[in-house]
């Protein structure tokens, strides 16, 4: 029987929850090892050994340690292609290419403005940090432009990479969850018909509900 994989970090971390969603989708057993970031655990030498940039999450599977949530997700999908949701990373190179394309779009175009907004609107107030109204406006505008592209795409196909839920859609769950439920920005998504429909579908998946539960109870 395989040892459960280890995931290091706090459940509220967007990047960590990306990995948890993937683990749930693939039915891969894991152990969550808390990292107390307010105490600086993530900058201590023992942690820097497994994540030299001092960020969460880090991941361990027997002898291998990995970091960067999107690479961890891809690894989980490749190692456990036959487990859980077998179509999460496509079943042939063409499907995989389309999924990779939209994971890149998420990482390059969606993530920068949305993660800035998540920090400014959801985390800064909790951490008693000053918000930057200019940064908020600039990134709202950028995010709108990106979602206009998504609106068109999601009118052509049910999910981003095609007609099946994939890692590409999953990658968007963490930031969007905060924007919709903790930053008072649901309207950016729900005011667009196709994007709204897509968000409802992907956020009501059992795997994501489990992650949200974990975030609430931590």
């Amino acid at each position: 029987m395989a040892t459960p994989v280890k995931v290091y970090g706090p459940p509220m971390s967007t990047a960590l929850s990306r990995v948890l969603a993937c683990l749930h989708e693939k039915d891969v057993e894991f152990q969550l090892i808390p990292i107390n970031m307010s105490k600086g655990d993530h900058k201590k030498p023992e942690f820097l050994k497994i994540q030299p940039f001092g960020q969460v999450p880090a991941f361990q599977d027997e002898s291998i340690t990995l970091f960067e949530s999107r690479s961890i997700c891809r690894y989980i999908c490749e190692k456990h292609a036959e487990k859980g949701n077998k179509r999460l990373y496509g079943t042939n190179p063409l499907e995989k290419a389309s999924i990779d394309q939209w994971i890149e779009a998420e990482g390059q175009s969606f993530n920068p403005p949305s993660s800035t907004l998540v920090f400014q609107l959801a985390f800064a107030p909790r951490m008693k940090l000053k918000q930057d109204p200019k940064a908020i406006k600039q990134n709202e505008d950028k995010l709108q432009k990106v979602l206009e592209v998504y609106e068109k795409r999601l009118g052509e196909s049910r999910f981003l990479a095609g007609d099946e839920f994939s890692l590409a859609d999953l990658s968007h769950l963490p930031n969007t969850q905060y924007l919709v439920t903790a930053a008072n920005r649901a309207e950016i998504f729900t005011s667009k018909q196709n994007v709204g429909r897509w968000w409802d579908e992907i956020s009501s998946r059992d795997s994501w509900k489990k992650v949200v539960e974990m975030q609430k109870s931590s």
Partner: protein, 217 residues
């Protein structure tokens, strides 16, 4: 059927793909996209990449955008020819390629691209270069390269003792960065310097570097 790559020979993202094509010994046609005339924002191009960016690869019926998805696709489709850039026979090695490809994407690129844009591109499009942005990013770059220095004193290349997509993805922006006044940030770190000299002298890159003409009159 010949691969078609839509883009420009001096664009960092286009060259990222071109280097991969040359590494795999693949024939392709480079179809220029007139960015200055905003051809990339016209409906014909948006039908290929709805984000209106270069490059786009056409391989028969398949159209792909995002340079790193394109290189991953090419490296997988042609994994048995020439160098294996993704280490497909070893789950652990391919995992390390993925990790350091993501590092390039999320830790290195956002920082080095700001410096290159401010120094080379801003003047080209009639804007003044913002030294504050440059300075902030030079500091961040130093910290990222400290991590690289430690890593590269343990392994010859980023993902292990083998050249991979993870190293390849760094070539375009680093090439331009080394033409800025701040190349010492890289040169002062001996293992990073040795790694850079190694990967930038690969024949596939040298073929592409010829067309990378930002900063030259």
């Amino acid at each position: 059927m010949v691969l078609k790559l839509h883009g420009l020979p001096m664009s960092t993202s286009t060259t990222r793909v071109m280097i991969c094509l040359h590494e795999k010994g693949l024939d392709f046609e480079l179809v220029p996209v007139d960015l200055f005339a905003r051809e990339n924002k016209q409906p014909l191009f948006l039908a290929k990449n709805p984000f209106g960016q270069v490059p786009v690869l056409e391989d028969g019926d398949l159209t792909l955008f995002e340079s790193r998805a394109i290189t991953a696709y090419l490296a997988e489709k042609y994994k048995d020819s020439r160098n294996d850039l993704i280490r497909h026979e070893s789950l652990n090695e391919s995992a390390m390629v993925k990790v350091w490809s993501e590092v390039e994407s999320h830790e290195y690129d956002p920082v080095v691209s700001q410096i290159v844009h401010q120094h080379f591109v801003a003047p080209m499009i009639g804007k003044t270069s913002d030294q504050t942005v440059i300075d902030e990013n030079l500091e961040k770059l130093g910290k990222v390269l400290d991590v690289y220095e430690t890593r590269l004193s343990n392994t010859k290349y980023l993902a292990g003792d083998f050249f991979s997509l993870a190293d390849l993805h760094h070539l375009p922006y680093t090439f331009y960065f080394m033409k800025t006044p701040w190349a010492s940030i890289l040169n002062d770190r001996p293992h990073v310097k040795a790694w850079w000299e190694d990967i930038s002298s690969r024949p596939a890159f040298e073929k592409v570097a010829v067309g990378m003409v930002f900063g030259e009159k």
